[in-house]
Amino acid sequence: MLDKIGIAKRIAQEVQDGYYVNLGIGIPTLVANYVRDGIEVEFQSENGVLGMGPFPFEGEEDADLINAGKQTITTLPGASFFDSSLSFSMIRGQHVDLTILGAMEVSEEGDIANWKIPGKMVKGMGGAMDLVASAQNIIVAMMHTNKAGESKLLKKCSLPLTGVGCVKKIVTNLAVLEVTENGFKLLERAPGISVDEIKKATEGHLIVDGDIPEMVL
């Protein structure tokens, strides 16, 4: 079974040379640490920066330089700043190659719910609805089951949706799955996890086609 860092490491393998990437808050943020050497990637943050670098050294933080999680950041050579409108032109206009975000639920049709739990405080969708509605390449990073042990890969989402039919790939602590017309196609197993364990943890339709390889991290 993978931990959060394991999920981030596996997703980092999906990042290709020349990609512009938008990372959501949580596990997705960790992906930046594991992108392989020798490729050029630029990270976009929807509050208006392309070419984000690591956190600043203590004492070098700048209140005018933050990411979408409101954390202080730095920029790398070649970075640029822009306003929110142009930022969402990059997103809506499909200029960003890869979007990685977390989710509370994903359906076998690629619907995603990650912004609202009825009866609980609603904090808002931020940029998530714009991202999922437009991105052509969305990878969801999440745990396979919730804290109560219930599957987060469902036939239909039970929570209010963030977007419909948009998720292409999911990396969980148990597996890598592709969302296809017929359901969740199992691509890889996490180290030490059997197909049966993945089946048990998946409520939506799971397609198991032949031998399923174990992830190589």
Binding site: E61, F81, F82, D83, F88
Partner: protein
Amino acid sequence: MINKKVADVTEAMQGVKDDMTLMLGGFGLCGIPENAINNLVKLNVKGLTCISNNAGVDDFGLGLLLHKRQIKKMVSSYVGENDEFERQMLSGELDVELVPQGTLVERCRAAQSGFPAFFTPAGYGTEVAEGKEVREFNGKMYVLEKAFEADFAFIKAWKGDAAGNLIFKGTARNFNPSMCGAAKITVAEVEELVPVGSLDPNQIHIPGIFVQRIFQGKDYEKRIEQLTVRQRS
């Protein structure tokens, strides 16, 4: 040169009244119009509708207006960092319209640009699209969203001149440029009001035509919401 300079924040806020709709720039606490917000607290205007990506924190930014119950309605994309906000929202004292971030900025930009409405894919198939016109273009579904109508826009820039020309710094730019000229009156506060002619026209982010009043801001706190640093190795 058409002079937009006013003496101070007091003069800049002339005409702000109860029940108005205000746009306020900023993302989190980054690039918020601190002087204008502090003056709104002082003026004690009530019943405000505030269009702003976030609602500040409990003791800073728009949180100060919430604390005094000056805000009737917030139009935002994310409001998570504020206990007083949560209390007022759950008790029904405060009305909240949550808008996807890209739609929020585009509704400002539409008002700035003279578009009454636009189609966006954001929110299609979700509760955000309920009651709104949807239409298919090239096999994909879109939601019709309308331009905002606001009385005042309060903007924070890094540098500006008396002509109203503005330059922003870093990610403090965010919603500010799209709110310029998106309300009946745009008030810009700047960290540095520089002599006319000293800004390179090639480098200006917002031309003065979108700004009605500009003033030299003071006492900026520029609070950091999430200080994150790495260790020197």
